[in-house]
Symmetry: C2
Subunit: 150 residues, 2 copies
DNA sequence: CGATTATATTTGTAATTACAAATAACGTAA
DNA sequence: TTACGTTATTTGTAATTACAAATATAATCG
């Protein structure tokens, strides 16, 4: 559905640039809300999920909170307490770095990988995003978003 | 910059669809963080800003919390307390609807409009979003995002 | 080495958010 | 009219987030 309809906009947007900015935020929140809703049954939020995915990308190696923070999709929350929860749930391990005792080594473990697999399957099954796009259009969308950020 | 670089992704994305989903979230958060940072000096957040813009769109008419919620870009927070703050700051008026005493009439007032003007000017001045897009590309981006949501 | 500056993480605290339950008023039908 | 289901908003409470200050370790420099 066109953005104007979804947010029941009465007046048209000033121009396509302003509309694009609102559209990017709206669509981002749309995806995030969908994701959050699907994660609820696993008792984690989108930040936790993002962290698990990042850690999986380096498995079996570790990352420290600072490195994780750098690459998070979303800067919300503070790493200490987000990771606290993942540790408490037994999905990741947190150990003092042997080279530099200021730093912590965060590693996803077997249970974390297993959960991630479940979550991915569920998200993939229920997600209808970009179902209406061709591969070419998806690529074009990526190019435009990258350009949009400048 | 390409998404892969920004989030320092080691492995390539599985396909353009997955990348598009991450890209949409990432870019949405990117815009939102920028906006939030610029709003800080005005002591409001992106939700408050969004509410003020919606109310301006109907000025001098009012909207009730339920109607505002429907069209918010972002469903975070609860309307009662978001509006509480706007009322306390003297930016909007909240009155019991004369037709239906369950409902509240929320109206932006002169001070609210004045603040919105200041905020818009500041955001417009510092925003570099879509500066690299042509009008045609912005339009294309909008079409693709609308299509992406399905 | 000792002092100083920088870096990484944690903690404290207030504000915000999620979610469910409570409140209040409306609409309708016996 | 009264009872009952519905709608609109508010409130309570726990979890999350923002932001600044505190802690702890490392690196640098005289």
């Amino acid at each position: 559905m066109r953005l104007e309809q979804e947010i029941k906009q009465v007046k048209p947007f000033v121009n396509e640039f302003v509309k694009a900015t609102v559209n990017v935020m709206y669509t981002g929140n749309y995806v995030q809300d969908f994701t959050a809703k699907n994660l609820k049954e696993f008792d984690i939020n989108d930040q936790h999920y993002n962290i698990l995915r990042i850690l999986k990308g380096r498995y079996p190696h570790s990352l420290c909170p600072g490195e994780i923070k750098e690459v998070l999709i979303n800067k919300r929350g503070d790493l200490t307490r987000l990771i606290d929860k993942l540790v408490k749930k037994g999905l990741v391990n947190r150990d003092v770095n042997s080279q530099n005792r200021r730093m912590m080594d965060i590693t996803i473990n077997k249970d974390g990988l297993k959960l991630l697999e479940l979550v991915n399957r569920k998200l993939h099954k229920s997600s209808k995003f970009s179902a209406n796009l061709t591969e070419k259009e998806a690529k074009q969308l990526n190019t435009l978003l990258d350009k949009f950020r400048g």
